[in-house]
């Protein structure tokens, strides 16, 4: 570096006025197949990164982040489960030697030793040798730790009652998955009934005054009966239109907002749709069956 007398500065600052070339070092003369970090190696690395990013975005689009119902501290039957990377610790506390009076062992001593050893590894394994098979104790202990962690996580996943978990954690937006068939004759009739919409909403999903009409488990006849005679707070004789229209609408509701089939919509066809509450697959199934 240039020092001493004769040095020029920019203005009254301490920045040297002399211009330096902005050219990377030439590594081609170095021994071995060394290459420059910028731009050669970084380009390779970023290309890997770009592919990784595409895969990652595909994952996020394909699997939206789960969201269960809002937390309810009074719910006592909920089976809790930590995020997967804490499962090994969660599982450890289930074993007899690490629970009850010995919780300290499972919660503090074993993880403490494991993570303490990890933190202090450079001073526990002081030999010069770097190859893993030349230092069997260190490698063995690490393998043991990895295997134990994977085993505990596996056991925890295996023992968890996933079906019960899926039920208790019903995603809050599942109701929205029910799609109303807006081309059905029943839908048009529904849209013309202001008194229905007033309580059950324009999208039939219910409101403060009336329940969701898309998840009823009623059959066509029962729906007609309720519309004509009322039920609970629901007043009787609100429907305006012919009996035929009433039946079409009732079949449409009994079939959870899907057109029962081309004509009329008698009680029989409402049945398949009426029994499943908004399950898409079987809805499709029943539609196909009806077309034949």
């Amino acid at each position: 570096m240039h020092r001493g007398k004769g040095m020029k500065f920019v203005g009254d600052s301490r920045v040297p006025a002399e211009k330096k070339p902005n050219i990377p070092k030439d590594y081609s003369e170095y021994p071995g197949k060394t290459e420059a970090f910028w731009p050669n190696f970084l380009l390779r690395e970023w290309m890997v990164g770009a592919v990784f990013l595409i895969g990652f975005l595909v994952l996020t689009v394909a699997h939206p982040a789960p969201l269960e119902g809002v937390a309810d501290p009074t719910e006592t039957s909920y089976i809790p489960l930590p995020d997967w990377y804490f499962l090994f610790l969660y599982q450890l506390l289930k074993y007899e030697f690490a629970s009850g009076p010995y919780t300290v062992i499972g919660a503090v001593i074993i993880p403490g030793i494991a993570f303490g050893a990890l933190l202090l590894a450079p001073w526990l394994d002081v030999g010069k040798e770097r190859r893993p098979y030349k230092r069997p104790i260190a490698s063995g202990l690490m393998m043991l730790g990895v295997v134990a962690t994977i085993f505990l996580t596996w056991e925890s996943v295996d023992q968890h009652d996933w079906e019960a978990a899926a039920e208790q954690g019903q995603m809050a937006d599942e109701e929205e998955d029910v799609e109303v068939d807006e081309s059905a004759a029943g839908y048009e009739i529904y849209q013309s009934q202001d008194s229905c919409i007033g309580c059950h909403g324009g999208d039939m999903s219910g409101g403060a005054a009336g329940p969701n009409l898309l998840t009823t488990e009623l059959e066509t006849d029962e729906v007609i009966d309720i519309i004509q005679n009322g039920q609970g707070d629901m007043p009787a004789d609100q429907f305006e239109g012919s009996d035929e229209e009433l039946e079409t609408l009732a079949a449409f509701i009994a079939n959870n907002g899907q057109a029962p089939d081309g004509e009329g919509g008698s009680g029989g066809e409402g049945e398949d749709g009426g029994e499943d509450s908004g399950d898409e697959e079987s809805d499709e199934g029943s539609e196909e069956g009806n077309e034949e």
Partner: protein
């Protein structure tokens, strides 16, 4: 390797490609995030819902009457009720619902409270005056007519919608 022998040196080429790949990664990461941040600005604002004011068509007369009603304001995940008022009356056979907010500085106007002008809306703050149909009277502070509500009649009941500016 000299820098001057080629018009685009290998290093320059690599740097350009690097910038391109980096730009792609940045765009891939940021595009959904920026779209999310811009969402409120890009979302088309739907017209306000019509709300019943508890008046039937028969209750109306030429004489403006003040009605108070509540509208639901949906603000993202938070819904609140806001009270609104309107002057509702028949004007040349049409139902007219005027917002009582003075177009001058936002005070509340009253009808006929000024004894000199019993047939006008009067704002007590700066003595702004409006004709019966809401037109501002030249020479008083307000510079545009009172805003009007969208009006709809359903089953003989009056429903008011969003507020529109005139003039």
């Amino acid at each position: 390797m000299s820098e001057k022998n080629h018009r685009v040196s290998r290093r320059q080429f690599l740097t350009y490609t690097l910038t391109g790949v980096g730009g792609f990664m940045a765009a891939g990461m940021l595009a959904p995030m920026v779209r999310m941040a811009l969402d409120p600005a890009l979302e088309a604002s739907g017209g306000a819902e019509f709300v019943s004011v508890g008046l039937s068509e028969d209750d109306l007369s030429e004489e403006p009457q003040r009605v108070d009603f509540n509208v639901e304001i949906v603000d993202g995940w938070y819904t609140s009720e806001q009270s609104r008022s309107a002057w509702v009356f028949l004007y040349e056979g049409e139902i007219l619902a005027l917002s009582p907010t003075c177009t001058h500085l936002g005070c509340t106007v009253n009808f006929g409270t000024n004894e000199e002008y019993p047939d006008q809306f009067f704002c007590p703050c700066h003595f702004g005056r409006f004709e019966r149909d809401g037109t501002n009277i030249p020479g008083t502070p307000p510079t545009r007519p009172l805003d009007v509500y969208d009006v709809e009649v359903r089953d003989g009941m009056i429903y008011l919608g969003q507020i529109n500016q005139r003039g």
